[in-house]
């Protein structure tokens, strides 16, 4: 029935809304995790897990609600992003539930909590789509966003560090939050609004030097401020990932806004200098770098988590051990279900499964950038590319860290990894992208009847 409801909003001459495509994809996005869930149960106990019906219904309900909301409030939105997010979230729940079956792994029984967080994330998604009628409204809150982002970023400084990184806000009795995940979105709004206003000044008032357009000194101010901020995050909160994320995102948005390659070169120089400086000063970051260079080295006579993750990947091989049949629990520690969840993917689903997951992320990012290309207003373009870029950098930093491509940082894989803040924030991120894409793809309103035009035509011959 919902089919007809959706279709009625399309004018016969406009572009297809692709809502039915989305629905078909969503069916797969729900079925795949449900089968995966059954697979884990059959592999581990030989029975279909008891919670499967509830789990399947839960995931199906979430998917159904999101789909209906998109159909009603963002009918022209991109049809791929929602199914991809649902599939990743669903698979993440299965993987977490699978790791819950290993009694030694903390946090215990994480899957039900994660399902609850996912529901909250979907609620936020719905909220964004329902109440944010047009993304340009966000432009009004440019400087408020900056203030909020700064507060979110500095908040963890006042809380005790967890595993050497100060990225958590612990509220007794409620749980822990990672404000950085939310700051990611809020600060993108600020950057987009700020750059939209300043882009001409930044782009045109520059001197040419050795074939490069160098910005004026006074225009360097903002970029240096952001650079310092990300360095501060790195030093005070010892969070390499978030720091890289913000700085990288800012450089990307600056480049898109000004079309000046020199910004990228500046960005690369500054981030390299900053990273080298911090790595040499800060022991935590230094350890991580050392771990990255010698992943299999024993520490204090024990096998490191990094090495265990590498063993997981290697043991998975091409096709993996099958869900529920791997030994990624050997990674131990507290991050098996979050930071290291890709190791479980690699071991149990193999190279094939891991590549599929990475491709899903890649597809999500490219759909986001496609949205930026299609957007008609500069703020929308900047916001979309900022969010997609941040997403891409986060994927790269996390997956690259876990697989040993770059030093490991304390960030989580969006949607897949256990962690409430991450899943909630990323559902909101997808909602904003869908909103921009809906605005971008919506057919222009039919021109109003204009008697003048007709008159002219009559006169012309």
């Amino acid at each position: 029935m919902s089919f007809n409801l959706g279709n009625t909003t399309i004018s016969s001459g406009g572009p297809p809304s692709r809502r039915n495509t989305e629905l078909a994809l969503l069916v797969f996005a729900v079925l795949v995790p449900v089968f995966a869930y059954a697979n884990v149960g059959l592999a581990m106990d030989g029975t279909i897990p008891a919670g499967m019906l509830g789990y399947g219904l839960g995931l199906g309900l979430l998917a159904g609600v999101t789909h209906l909301v998109v159909r009603k409030f963002a009918p022209y939105a991109d049809p791929l992003m929602l199914p991809i997010a649902t599939l990743l979230n669903g698979l993440g729940l299965v993987l977490i539930w699978r790791l819950d079956q290993e009694p030694a792994l903390k946090p215990y029984n994480a899957a039900p909590t994660q399902l609850m967080w996912s529901a909250l994330g979907v609620a936020l998604f719905v909220g964004v789509l329902v109440f944010l009628k047009d993304h340009r409204i966000l432009q009004r809150y440019t400087y408020i966003s900056m203030a909020v982002a700064l507060v979110l970023l500095t908040l963890p400084v006042f809380f005790p560090p967890v595993n050497g990184a100060r990225i958590w806000v612990t509220i007794p009795g409620v749980g822990s939050l990672q404000p950085g995940e939310f700051a990611k979105i809020v600060i993108t709004v600020f950057f987009a609004g700020y750059l939209m206003v300043k882009r001409d000044a930044l782009a045109l008032a520059s001197r040419r030097f050795m074939g490069l357009y160098l910005p004026r000194g006074r225009d360097l101010g903002p970029i240096l401020a952001i650079w310092l901020l990300s360095l501060m995050i790195l030093v005070v909160e010892t969070d390499l990932g978030t720091s890289l994320l913000f700085f990288g995102m800012f450089v990307v948005m600056l480049y898109v806004a000004t079309e000046r390659t020199s910004w990228i070169i500046f960005g690369l120089l500054l981030s390299t200098a900053g990273a080298v400086f911090v790595a040499s000063v800060n022991t935590h970051v230094g350890d991580r770098v050392n771990n990255w260079l010698n992943p299999l080295e024993l520490q204090n006579g024990g096998v490191t988590e990094t090495a265990q993750a590498m063993y997981s990947f290697g043991s998975g091989g091409l096709l993996g051990s099958g869900l529920g049949q791997g030994f990624s629990r050997l990674i131990g520690g507290i991050a098996t279900k979050s930071d290291y969840i890709l190791a479980t993917v690699g071991e149990e689903l193999g190279l094939a499964g891991l590549m599929a997951i990475i491709l899903l992320y890649g597809l999500l990012v490219e759909r986001g950038i496609r949205t930026a290309l299609a957007a008609r207003d500069p703020f929308g373009k900047l916001l979309a590319v900022g969010l997609s870029g941040a997403f891409a950098i986060q994927i790269f930093v996390v997956a690259g860290g876990v697989t040993g491509l770059i030093p490991l940082t304390g960030m989580t894989m969006p949607f897949l990894a256990q962690g409430g803040s991450s899943v909630i924030a990323n559902w909101a991120l997808v909602a904003i992208l869908l909103r921009i894409s809906d605005t971008a793809r919506r057919p222009a309103p039919a021109p109003a009847h204009n008697p003048d035009v007709e008159m002219t035509q009559v006169v012309k011959p």
Binding site: L296, G316, L318, F327, G350, G362, I393, I395, F396, T403
Partner: protein, 484 residues
């Protein structure tokens, strides 16, 4: 703004591409290395995830598997009569790794071998638990019992071969250890392991294969073989070598304390019966270092042997004239493992043909034989006529000479005693050696070498004939009784 946007799209694509390349590198190129890396616990978990296949002696398994709890290993290795069989089985320990047959045929025993692929597939399809294969040995239970019992309370080793095939019948080493006690990864296992490694007597050492000893007078059969092969000497021809003999380039006189007159210019047979030092040192000097090395090599010296458990190389090195002369009586820089001396005896008993010693008859999968091993000939150590002459002399040793304790009623036994002196001024207890074979109408079914390294017996009592020969006799009898 669209031009930079497209570039950003390409940049993000490159990030994803870099991840793809990386995961392919890790999960495809490096996968094998990481999978089998020493730090990867999965290797051990997989190894003990199913009951291991067994090592079989005469149709009965000498190993087993027990379910364990409290660790991520599902099964633990157990051994029946562990200390006796340890020189064969080695160990498969959850905490301390594997050795010997357990390690060499690990993939067969765990069922992971490529040749068991179809078995695994069938088991997987029919839902049966994984089954390991068995390693069927050539060993003889009674002979091994006799050897181990004979060595009880002593430090030494026994190696017994079937001369006609090279099959190892007994391989004992004492003091030994029970691999069951270090098979798990519990606190007890750790305690036992620490104790084992503290033990000065080194119970985990496989003396039959891995320890080389001065061969003493038993080496005289090799020297005699070199003498006959040179064509200059014959069994009942006078050697013309004086006793005592002045060693070349030296003023040292070498002889035998009380029987020098008997050894003086004796025949080869007489010299063998009496174990005359001067005669064989003289022959060794006459044949020369090169000739002696050649003959020793033909018996298998100077080369590692894989049974398939590795046996260290026995040595007969290049040396100067006086040392070479002393090596002719096994008292210089030449060294031999008990297995090597058993090979020498076996080659002589087998009319000169040296067979490759082996202890695994076949590898059995759960459904069929995976690999059947066949006897292999290494080469001709001595010509058949000369081998017969050597047999003749060794049988004289038992009938009339120093090896009289090795006589067995109704069977021809050939042997040679040895007492290798040790330490400066001979102050350490000597090694008591005995090598022998038994022979009936169908050829020789057993050749054995026994060494007793250290003994609480008084020095005077130590001689190959007194300490080592009775053990050799028991081992031979065990084989002969089994034949009847």
């Amino acid at each position: 703004m669209n031009k930079p946007l497209r570039r950003v799209a390409i940049f993000c694509g490159l990030l994803i591409m870099a991840l793809m390349v990386r995961v392919n590198w890790v999960q495809f190129v490096q996968a094998e290395d990481l999978k089998n890396h020493e730090g990867n616990r999965r290797v051990a978990i997989e190894r003990y995830a199913h009951p291991r296949g067994n090592i079989i002696v005469e149709g009965k398994s000498i190993t087993g598997s027990a379910e364990t709890s409290g660790s991520d290993f599902a099964y633990k290795r157990t051994y029946k009569n562990g200390p006796m069989w340890a020189p064969i089985t080695g160990r498969a320990s959850q905490a301390y790794g594997g050795t010997q047959l357990e390690e060499i045929y690990d993939t067969i025993l765990t069922g992971n071998d490529d040749r068991l692929f179809f078995n695994r597939t069938i088991d997987m399809l029919t839902g049966k638990p994984r089954e390991g294969g068995n390693v069927v040995t050539t060993l003889n239970n009674a002979a091994q019992q006799a050897a181990f019992k004979g060595l009880e309370g002593k430090k030494g080793a026994v190696a017994a071969l079937d001369p006609q095939t090279g099959a190892i019948l007994a391989l004992a080493s004492t003091p030994s250890y029970d691999p069951s006690k270090v098979a798990g990864n519990s606190k007890d296992d750790e305690k036992n392991w620490v104790e084992l490694n503290k033990d000065d007597d080194d119970p985990t050492l496989n003396r039959a294969l891995r320890q080389t000893y001065a061969p003493g007078s038993t080496f005289k059969v090799v020297t005699a073989a070199a003498a006959l092969e040179s064509g200059k000497y014959d069994v009942d021809k006078k050697t013309g070598i004086e006793s005592p003999l002045k060693l070349p380039q030296s003023s040292t006189m070498l002889g035998n304390d009380k029987i020098n007159p008997l050894c003086d210019k004796a025949t080869l047979r007489r010299a063998m019966e009496l174990s005359c030092n001067a005669t064989f040192a003289g022959i060794s000097d006459d044949v020369g270092n090169k000739g002696m090395i050649e003959q020793a090599d033909k018996f298998g010296f100077n080369e590692e042997v894989f049974t398939p458990v590795r046996g260290v190389a026995s040595v007969y090195p290049e040396d100067n004239r006086p040392q070479n002369a002393m090596a002719g009586i096994g008292q210089a820089s030449n060294r031999a493992t008990p297995l090597q001396m058993a090979m020498v005896t076996a080659a002589i008993a087998n009319d000169g043909k040296l067979m490759k010693p082996y202890m695994v008859d076949r590898l059995e999968g759960p459904r069929s034989t995976v690999e059947q091993f066949q006897p292999e000939e290494i080469g001709e150590a001595v010509s058949a006529p000369n081998a017969k002459k050597l047999q003749d002399m060794m049988e004289s040793v038992v009938e009339r000479g120093t090896g009289s304790t090795a006589r067995i009623d109704g069977v021809k036994v050939g042997g040679k005693t040895g007492t290798a002196q040790r330490g400066e001024e001979n102050k350490d207890n000597p090694y008591a050696w005995f090598i022998s074979y038994a022979k009936d109408d169908n050829g020789s079914p057993v050749a054995v070498a026994v060494v007793v390294e250290d003994s609480e017996a008084a020095r005077g009592d130590i001689s190959g004939g007194g300490l080592a020969a009775p053990i050799a006799v028991d081992v031979m009898k065990a084989i002969l009784d089994g034949k009847r």
